[in-house]
Amino acid sequence: MNQLPPEPASSEITPEPLYNRRREFLKNGALLAGTAAAVGGGSLWLVGKRPPADQPEQPALPALGQTQLLGRFDTDEPQTSYESVTSYNNYYELGLDKGDPIRNAHTLQPRPWTVEISGLVAKPQTIDLDTLLQWFSLEQRVYRMRCVEAWSMVIPWNGFPMAELIKRVEPTGAATFVEFTTLLDPKQLPGQRSPVLQWPYVEGLRMDEAMHPLTLMAAGLYGKTLPNQNGAPLRLVVPWKYGFKGIKSIVKIRFTDTQPKTSWALAAPSEYGFYANVNPEVDHPRWSQASERRIGDTQRRKTLPFNGYGEQVAGLYAGLDLRRNF
């Protein structure tokens, strides 16, 4: 009746001094865990990366004709994934970290949208973007994009040649430059509240650069409406120049006879020039431009003069010292 369970083996018995200190062990264990959590949590809070944001599905471009085979300007290199193209962006108006623009993209309202065309032009006008887009048939251009930070992508853009717009608005003979301006609205582009650059962002091209058949006004990528973080609803793409020339969310296009004062050249004139042609020979003062990492690759690759578009555009710069005019 009164059977006791077998006694535990002597080896299993907790030694007495240890038994006496059991509370201390529990306390020390808890303090150890607490210290580890505090140090780990604190350091992760200081250095951790926030997880990438989900993004809404972009609608297909309505005005897009059937996707044609590779055109004469298209590269057949593997295209950078849609996910990378839309989640790794330099768009300081939507945040300074590459992952910020996609997170803050919702604050930008790309419709209704008007573009003001002004300056030395026969037909100055302020035009609704949807009307403007109906003037042209959108084409696909698969271009390399080389960032001044030594990384690159291959992106299928949808847009129309800048030259077609220029012909339509008829700049006067005096116009030698085109100046582009981004929307100025800190509510929609909250990064404009901090003075890292002079806002609004301004970019510019020489008239012959703007007229070049490679120069594209993009309203989409991958056959979809341009995501906000990529510069919706209308942006510039100049594939032989560093990415910062590709001004985003354009509201003004002005024809002028003086070289526009562009944002990066104003912020750091010794590091970023007006031309900003991709050039492996001319290093950024703080890093090399000789090679680049194609997003998705592990190995670096050599950077090509004019980002590989030398055959088409080198002639534009005959006689110009590209070392001085970087």
Partner: protein, 211 residues
């Protein structure tokens, strides 16, 4: 009269009043590395994981370096003595993270391209100062043991380890020169460093004055 209880053969070890402190700090200090490895494995480092890993590791090294430099001011200002018990450990972690930061740059970013590496170090000031900071930390890590304190003598050892102030300053300069335009984060660390060194100077002056 009762005999004194027999002593155990081993000398009674003086137990630390905080036996949990050093192992706790050790485990917690591995968190940035484990989190990075996990994010890498899960593909959460974004489109350019090598650049992201480099940035995260560099920032982690600076955070640990600042924490190591905060141990003495914490004692001077608040009378805390426990910070002295973890100073070596935290400093070694700063060197550990700086070293992986450099290895990721040399091996993953440049891909064993020693020519470019040497050119970068020689030609690009922000890389030069970062590399010098790492070089300065190396002998400190090497001589961080009690044995080395004895071998060098405390005065000389202390003099050598004052190099950490220079390493901290160079690390912050490296960070500041590296960013494109927004220097707010590196300048925050520069301010932290200025406070940590300023407290030392203030106490040194005060002691000289009151002596």
């Amino acid at each position: 009269m009762a005999a004194t209880p027999p002593r155990t053969t081993a000398q009674p070890r003086r137990r630390s009043p905080y036996p949990w402190l050093q192992p706790g700090v050790f485990i917690g200090s591995l968190a940035p590395l484990l989190s990075l490895l996990w994010q890498w494995y899960e593909g959460m480092l974004g489109a350019n994981p090598i650049a992201q890993a480099q940035n995260q590791l560099g920032l982690t090294a600076i955070v640990f370096l600042m924490a190591a430099l905060a141990c003495t001011p914490a004692r001077l200002m608040f009378g805390w003595t426990w910070t002295a018990r973890i100073r070596r450990e935290v400093g070694l972690f700063a060197f550990f993270y700086a070293m992986i930061h450099f290895l990721v740059y040399a091996f993953l970013d440049l891909g064993f391209d020693w020519e470019t590496l040497l050119e970068d170090i020689a030609k690009r000031p922000f890389i030069t100062v970062g590399f010098v900071a790492l070089l300065l930390l190396a002998p400190l890590a090497l001589t961080s043991t009690n044995g080395w304190v004895r071998r060098l003598g405390f005065r000389r050892w202390q003099g050598l380890h004052r190099l950490v102030y220079l390493a901290g300053a160079l690390a912050v300069v490296h960070f500041t020169w590296r960013v494109k335009v927004d220097t707010s984060q590196p300048l925050t660390y520069a301010a932290v460093l200025a406070v940590l060194l300023g407290v030392r100077v203030a106490f040194w002056l005060w002691r000289r004055h009151t002596r």
